[in-house]
């Protein structure tokens, strides 16, 4: 019953909030209530106690429960942020639907159903990308439609590849058909490409940069935190379900590590180029995605701990980044086309949030990414300098990119620092435009930003409980024991 509630309760509420979608305040309160109820349900479901429904096994592992609780909490945070930040008319119902889908994926073991549900989350996210605020007097942007279309195509292709791979695993017998291309390699290749598409690893990353560029920040935040992290967990489940794939093909694992390194280095290098704030953030997310994927592909206990911890950190840091971005992009009395260099001075909480989120993705202490990055470096060091050095270079690139972007957009001189021009002949003080008095940052969103920042700091300073939980979860993973 609890499993069914966890799956269907948010879906029914999503339908209700869709009907009420124009009453934003009410809908947000309903969604917050739903998330709280879901949190309660998730804590009531016993861990590792499988149940059968229509021939499908549903089970909640300790790791899945942790991520489910994190996702629900972050969903709640996103609803709070939606109170003041711009978002589409259907943001709340779509997010509830995504939470239901993601929750179901975390409960499932069947690879076919998981693949289809992941693909369905992609379809749901497409609706959010092209969503306009209620009563908007503008047309949906063509680039937003293009970003949605790109996302749709890539997610369906990823699902198709993943599905073919799982069909092959269904009939795959180790050491069968000698002389032919090993099915294990073929399956791993299909899985690598499909998950690279879902996780936006270079060169399959363009959907993520487009998403960050053209969708609302809250939508980008939700898609990256919920969907990308869930895909990573599914990949872990695949390794757990089919460990033979890994020890049949050590070369494929090396290729996956190489792909992760290339992804992190290229994303770091792209972050170096002068670009908009959104673009730089997208590259930072890509860099971190590459690092996390490296940990998973290293297939070692340390690397896997780094990957799981990194994925957890990424969810918090990315939401912090995008909530801060939404705040920074609020109208501040200047022309929309005006270049802004003093955002930290103008919006101090949001500026600090963006800085902290970026630093967390880079793994700089004392923020939450530091420990996970250390674990990833440790896993790379075990493989040799050839793998550690590129990862360090990638971090350096991304760090310089963040510093350059922060200097350009956040730390520039304030408008008031510019010396006032002397009065012209016949001009009086009254002829001058009045000094702009800006509203401060909205309290609830500023408080949320500070809370997320404190969570990042708290995890960074005291990571032991999470590390202990991750260690416990990893001990239960068969493929790590086998390797």
């Amino acid at each position: 019953m609890l499993y069914l509630l966890l799956i269907f309760f948010p879906i029914t509420i999503a339908l209700s909030t869709f009907v009420l979608r124009r009453r934003t305040g009410l809908v947000i309160f309903i969604a917050l209530g739903t998330v709280l109820t879901q949190l309660l349900i998730a804590t009531q479901i016993p861990v590792d106690d499988p149940t059968r429904l229509l021939g499908v096994t549903l089970i909640l592992s300790a790791l899945s429960r942790t991520f489910l609780l994190v996702f629900l909490t972050l969903g709640g945070f996103a609803f709070v942020a939606a109170w003041h930040l711009p978002h589409g008319e259907n943001f709340v119902p779509i997010t509830l639907l995504i939470l239901a889908q993601v929750g179901t994926v975390l409960l499932l073991q069947d690879p076919f159903i998981t693949t289809l549900l992941l693909a369905l989350t992609g379809l749901t996210a497409v609706l959010a990308i092209v969503d306009l605020p209620a009563g908007a007097s503008v047309l949906v942007g063509t680039r937003a439609i293009a970003a949605a279309l790109k996302y749709l195509v890539l997610m369906v292709v990823a699902a198709a590849l993943m599905y073919v791979a799982f069909v092959l695993t269904d009939i795959f017998r180790p050491d069968e058909l000698p002389g032919r291309i090993s099915p294990a390699r073929f399956i791993l290749a299909l899985l690598s490409v499909s998950f690279a598409l879902r996780l936006a690893l270079v060169p399959f990353h363009t959907w993520l940069t487009d998403l960050v560029d053209f969708a609302e920040p809250l939508v980008a935040g939700i898609v990256i935190t919920l969907l990308n992290t869930t895909s990573l967990l599914v990949l872990m489940l695949v390794f757990q379900t089919f460990p033979t794939l890994l020890f049949e093909s050590e070369v494929a694992l090396s290729m996956m590590r190489l792909g992760a390194i290339v992804s992190a280095v290229v994303a770091g290098a792209l972050a170096l180029a002068p670009a908009s704030l959104r673009h730089t953030l997208a590259y930072l997310v890509l860099y971190n995605g590459g690092m996390v994927f490296y940990g998973l592909a290293s297939a070692s206990p340390v690397g896997l701990a780094g990957a799981i911890f990194g994925a957890l950190n990424q969810t918090v840091a990315v939401l912090l980044l995008f909530v801060s971005l939404g705040l920074l992009e609020r109208p501040d009395g200047r022309a929309p086309s005006a270049l802004r260099h003093d955002l930290l001075r103008r919006w101090p909480v949001a500026g600090a949030g963006l800085l902290a989120g970026g630093m967390a993705l880079l793994g700089l202490p004392p923020l939450n990414g530091a420990v996970s990055h250390l674990l990833l470096y440790q896993a790379a060091a075990a493989k040799g300098w050839g793998e550690l050095l590129p990862l360090l270079v990638a971090t350096l690139f991304a760090g310089v990119g963040l510093a350059r972007s922060v200097a350009a957009h956040l730390l520039g001189p304030g408008e008031e620092a510019v010396a006032a021009e002397p009065l012209l002949l016949g001009e009086t003080e009254l002829d001058r435009p009045a000094v702009r008095r800006l509203d401060p940052e909205p309290r609830s969103t500023a408080a949320l930003t500070l809370l997320l920042l404190l969570i990042c700091l708290g995890i960074g300073l005291y990571p032991q409980p999470i590390l202990a939980m991750i260690d416990e979860a990893i001990r239960g993973l068969a493929f790590i024991r086998v390797l």
């Binding site: 047309l139 293009a146 198709a160």
Partner: protein, 242 residues
């Protein structure tokens, strides 16, 4: 040698989707493709028949595939037929309305200046030849499904789907390419997983596959409607131009 007409049906209809541009032709071809796939599954009897229909025993799975095909093509067909409607204009400001008028003028001019050109079909034609060669070769080189016919069918659907995606010039055709790819994995799943040495078909993935097909068609219809409402055309080149 016995001719398998259902395989020919799958092949011809997928080729029509890949080659032609007129949505009336391609959406109709997609419907026939779904029907041919369903009849192929019935003929191959991957799943034991459990229904009597017109004096023949068929599996309920075949019926599900037919209903899915009808639903998908209905969604796309109805969307394409109602493109001309104008929705949500009341909330637009003057700039938005002016933008729409300008887009309508541009689209009208383009339609008037775009006569039939044979060169538009050269790339899809050679792509279909390539797909045919690959689909004939791959079942021998890398057989996956229990029969060569089903291997040809899923390889052909997957390749024509991917090549339709690669050569598509409008959004609806991109959608048709995606639907062909999904049909391909649907056929592969049914053929392989129902084999004696495999794990066996489960009702939930089969139902989810059909649901996914329908929701994908809805997503394509929604995006097509948005794009047409915005630019009065489905051409992808216009989407990236502005």
């Amino acid at each position: 040698m016995q001719i398998n007409w259902f395989i020919i049906g799958i092949g011809v209809t997928a080729a029509v989707v890949l080659l032609f541009r007129d949505w009336r032709l391609t959406v109709a071809a997609l419907l026939l493709n779904y029907l041919a796939s369903a009849l192929f599954l019935a003929e191959q009897q991957f799943v034991p028949p459990d229904l009597a229909f017109l004096g023949r025993a068929i599996s309920s799975l075949v019926l599900v595939k037919v209903i899915t095909g009808f639903a998908v093509t209905m969604i796309l067909g109805v969307t394409a037929l109602t493109f001309e409607g104008e929705y949500g204009l009341e909330s637009l400001d003057e700039f938005g309305l002016a933008e729409l008028r300008r887009a309508a003028r541009v689209a009208q001019r383009q339609q008037a200046n775009a006569p039939f050109q044979l060169s538009d079909y050269v790339l899809p034609f050679w792509a279909s030849v390539l797909a045919l060669l690959a689909s004939l070769t791959l079942p021998r080189v890398y057989p996956i499904a229990p029969t060569e016919a089903s291997d040809f069918a899923w390889y052909w659907l997957a390749l024509t789907g991917l090549l339709t995606l690669a050569t598509a010039s409008d959004l609806l055709k991109v959608g048709l390419g995606l639907l062909l790819c999904v049909s391909s994995i649907d056929l592969l799943y049914t053929a392989v997983v129902s084999a004696p040495q495999a794990s066996g078909l489960n009702v939930v993935p089969v139902a989810l596959l059909s649901l996914f097909n329908i929701l994908l068609a809805l997503a394509i219809a929604y995006l097509s409607g948005l794009l047409y409402g915005r630019l009065k055309t489905l051409e992808l080149s216009e989407l990236y131009k502005r």
